[in-house]
Symmetry: C2
Subunit: 192 residues, 2 copies
DNA sequence: GGGTTTATTGAGCGATCACTCAAGTATATA
DNA sequence: TATATACTTGAGTGATCGCTCAATAAACCC
């Protein structure tokens, strides 16, 4: 029994790179030629590593969603549940290193849902997880007395996620002052 | 001088039909085969009538945007400026005949902006017009004393449009109670 | 009805799509 | 060093993309 050769690439780094490309250009907007050029992989290596364009897209979305939840958790540890929820809108708008401000999950869902594509269902699943994360933060904010208990945390989370999706879409437009919208969303949380 | 043959199709009806197809499936998600099948046009007739896929898409978006503004104006005539703004979220969620709840302009912008496609710029232009329409309604609501004058109508319009985009995206998901979000958006307008 | 003009038809264009695979190369163990 | 194993390469697959155009059919004025 002899041991084989190792791949020359860093699989995790390639997934992160693919995530940024898919995030910016979407599913149909990203061709294998694009991926091969950016990831510096020939078709053979690409398919040996990931199996298909859709399989890599699924990995990219999973990475995106995991990072999103982890980011909110970290933020909550630093600023508390309400602080994290209030800070997130501003952080999204101000983040300059993002491939694009719009949410990758909502972009994927919007693009592929009508055709019943499997990736749309996966995007939906990840959005549900994100919403659950928001709901937990609202619940914790209530228990900590940061906001009143008269509102349903699940409903607050749905509204918050919806506002965030709109904000992130709006932040892509140069005719919109997204900072103002972010501030207004945060201000609404103080009135709870 | 003799007179020519007339087309067998209703151009306006075809544009409306194309709008619904593009709206639902997006730009890349709609092939000429799809359009030829649905509009019952052979390639030759299609190109004689519209010139290109992108040209028809532009016409479809224009129709979408015109109808959107006209709809808000009609609503304002019936319910007053604040009444129209408050009613719109619920109407969007409850409308059952729509090809999809998400906004066609934001879908187009999200899909094509990164590649610098001309249609993304046109979508942006139409969204600006829609935002201006909202701002006018907020201004009229202020003049009518329906809401306070301490807020900037342009800022209110940007936030309102952002909320509406998020709502319409959320209304596509069956894990979200969009009616509740719509009610919450309308309720926020009463606190102005 | 004749003649003119335009609408309709559908085969097929080159380009690009996601993807395959046989041949060549590099790295591990023995 | 010999060999087994897996990685890398890139030409090439059939399918589909948006689109063209020559041939045919239909509707109009005279």
């Amino acid at each position: 029994m002899t041991m084989p050769r190792k791949p020359a690439y860093d699989r995790d780094a390639l997934i992160a790179q693919a995530r940024d490309i898919f995030w910016r250009h979407g599913w149909a907007g990203t061709s294998l030629k694009d991926l091969e050029r950016e990831l510096k992989l020939k078709p053979g290596s690409f398919y040996a590593a990931f199996g298909s364009k859709d399989a890599l897209y699924a990995l990219a979305m999973e990475r995106y969603a995991q990072d999103g939840v982890a980011n909110m958790m970290t933020l909550a540890r630093e600023l508390g549940p309400l602080g994290a929820l209030k800070a997130q809108p501003r952080l999204v708008v101000e983040a300059s290193e993002l491939p694009t401000r719009a949410c990758m999950l909502s972009k994927t869902y919007a693009e592929l849902q009508a055709r019943g594509h499997e990736l749309a269902g996966q995007a939906r699943t990840h959005m549900v997880a994100m919403k659950t994360c928001f709901a937990d933060l609202f619940r914790r904010a209530q228990k900590a007395g940061e906001i009143g208990t008269e509102h349903d945390p699940d409903r607050l989370a749905a509204r918050y996620q919806s506002d965030l999706l709109g904000l992130r879409m709006s932040a892509e437009r140069d005719d919109v002052n997204a900072s103002e919208i972010a501030a207004d969303i945060a201000a609404d949380l103080d009135r709870l």
